[in-house]
Amino acid sequence: MLSNIDSLMHGFGVALSGYHIMLMMGGVLLGILVGVLPGLGAPNGVTLLLPLTFGMDPVSAIILLTSLYWGALFGGSTTSILFNIPGEPSSVATTFDGYPMARQGRATEALTCAFLSAGFGALVGVIVITLLSTAVANFALRFGPPEYFAVYLLAFASFIAFGGGTPLKTIISLCLGFGLGMVGIDTVSGNMRLTFDFDQLVRGISFLVVVIGLFGLGELLLTIEEGPEFKGASGRIDPREMFRTMGRMPRYWLAMLRGSAVGVWMGITPGGPTAASFMSYGIARRVSRNRANFGKGEPEGVIAPETADHSAGTAAMLPMLSLGIPGSATAAVMLGGLMIWGLNPGPMLFIEQHDFVWGMIASMYLGNVVGVVLVLATVPLFAAMLSISFSIIGPIIVTVCMVGAYTVASSPFDLWIALVFGAVGYAMKKLDYPLAPLILAMVIGDKAEDAFRQSMLSSNGSLSIFWSNWLVGAITTLAILFLLWPLTMLLRRPAQTTDPDAATHAP
């Protein structure tokens, strides 16, 4: 551990130069822009910048790309909070409480909360990487198909079981998500599923496009129906509110630590940032002291997913470097970059490319500090956007949504999908169907299915493989306990469950 701190100091020596700080600022700013635009997203942003890095030395190249990633993670929360449009898949959970806060005129508070907790999560992630690099890498190797499935099951269980909503409606929404995630080619059988011989469906239905429709367009339809009360909500912007929120942050230390722990866990086990944010929100909604207020504009409901999202995004860099496992879509693109710069991800990278690895880790500290400062500077600007009249901002949102839906895969067909899901999202909200289970099922449903079937191939169809060692056994058992939690609550405190609070307003 001490030698790791030595290495880190060496890394700061590599990363701290005027040129690198400039790259960080440029990367973070570009990233915020990319993150704010729904659909564009961090993976696309990194892909677009990749050719630029061919002429750079690897340390500068990775600093530019990771800074862009941090920026995009920050930026993704902005539109979630202001317009209920998640700029990044991992900021879907931020809409649940962030958007209600913005509608109550607390946009500044919500944004500040989100950015500070995100920065905190990233810091925890990078500290874990610094101190435990080798141990964590070896731990990640223990994950085979049964372990993967157990991790996904745990994510499902903690979100679904701790969530509110009518059970039947939750299940319907969940199944719709599984079905949508299934479209396209199936890894295990190699066959096309649910494509109906449509060329456009071969690549599957993009989760990002569905989110743009369900959240962005669906919300807009609701706003139009309810009348444009959008503007009055937060006409006043008080920069001092930002500092007051900063002062209140330490009060949420428990929520931040819990979120970071969930995030680090999901980043190292390859659950990914999106699943991490859902899981963290689900757990917080059950155990927080303010749980009754969740879904109605509770700061903790912003803090929980944001810390988890960022600590997972940061921690996922470790399996990428040391094993070549991409923990997220963005990490997959960066892996491609590593190969082009002439580096081979693997256990030897830490030994042979000392400058690169520790330069990058050091830049993660610096990049996130730069990110928090820059993104906080944008808060008044973004919060001011809410005071623009709806007749102006509404059409702009539609345009941005459509541009975003097109950018995902440069396919005009996706525009129709976004429109259809706009209508679906509106209908689901009117009928009180929760959207979150659908999203979660779409994101990790097919991965969970692959892992389950790979496990079954391996065990010749015996379920005992999910208890074949202490690791997978412990995760599976925990997941099942989580699933049974609502049931035990029902037995112990029958009066509590009839409380309509939080249940009907759950996202």
């Binding site: 085979g144 198909p145 190699g190 070549g324 997959a332 693109v333 082009i340 191939l457």
Partner: protein
Amino acid sequence: MRMTIAALGAALSLAATLPAALAEEWKPTRPVEFVVTSGAGGGTDVFARAVQAAIAKHDLVPTSVVVTNKGGGSGVEGYIYGAAAKADPHKVIFGTNNAWTLPMVVKTSWQTENFVPVAIMAFDEFMLWVKNDSPFKTAADFVAAAKEKPGTLRMGGSQTHDTDQTLTVLVEKAANIQLKYIPYQGGGTVGTQLAGGHIEANTNNPSESLGGWRGGQVRPLCVFRKAPMPEGQKVAGDKGWGDVPTCASQGLNVTEFNMPRTVFLPPGTPPEAQAYWVDVFRRASETPEWKDYVSRTSQNGELVTGDAMVKRINAEEADTRKIFEEAGWLVK
């Protein structure tokens, strides 16, 4: 041959409508799109970006070149996109042998022979890998263990009905053994699954497991090649790629198996554009950047174009079809 005939036919009909001077030379006039039939970070993606880097460095193409990833449906998306860009020489499609294996195993709306072939830029080799502390020292040990306990050794690979599973079938047939094939999403995952001991063996390309071998997690038993790979730098300890014996020499009689890295143009592209791109790719293959990519990824950098490429494709297609038919993978 079918492909050249199709290309020639298209060319003749086009040439008849064009003034002779125009038909002679073609040059891109707009930005060129390299369509990659894999996701960002996949083998085909790295391949296309290596070509892009070589072209940019030596100014081989007068306009700008952008790479787009269309890897949905195991790459089907990229070919659908290419087929839709009828006769547009500004779209260049990068793939592997998936250009002709995909239509065999899934229902596609395009046919391989309609695409205009440009070049095979390289061939990626395959090796039999085991975990570093595995009891198997040679391919013969592996075969013997599989004979003892049929259907229990787990062989990992990327995707279903793709190169890894094809090679697994060939190994099973050659050694008269039964393995348990488990498909994963990509070569990188398959490598770490082996390192973690979740499978007993895999057939990764050298570049996919280079990091794992250096780091002492996995080691190669043999290479599916007629002769050992050329002696290069040492990779792990005192061993280099050239020290890995051929599988045939260890009694596992699959003499040659490799994966071509292919480049095509959309159906109906005129021959002068085809000639232009053949020339560009030939010059790209001579750049130091390309040579560096080939040696870093331990591929065979043989360039195949024109008639030779069509012959090669047709021969491979016929072989593969036979294997797929026996395995029952063909779609009706």
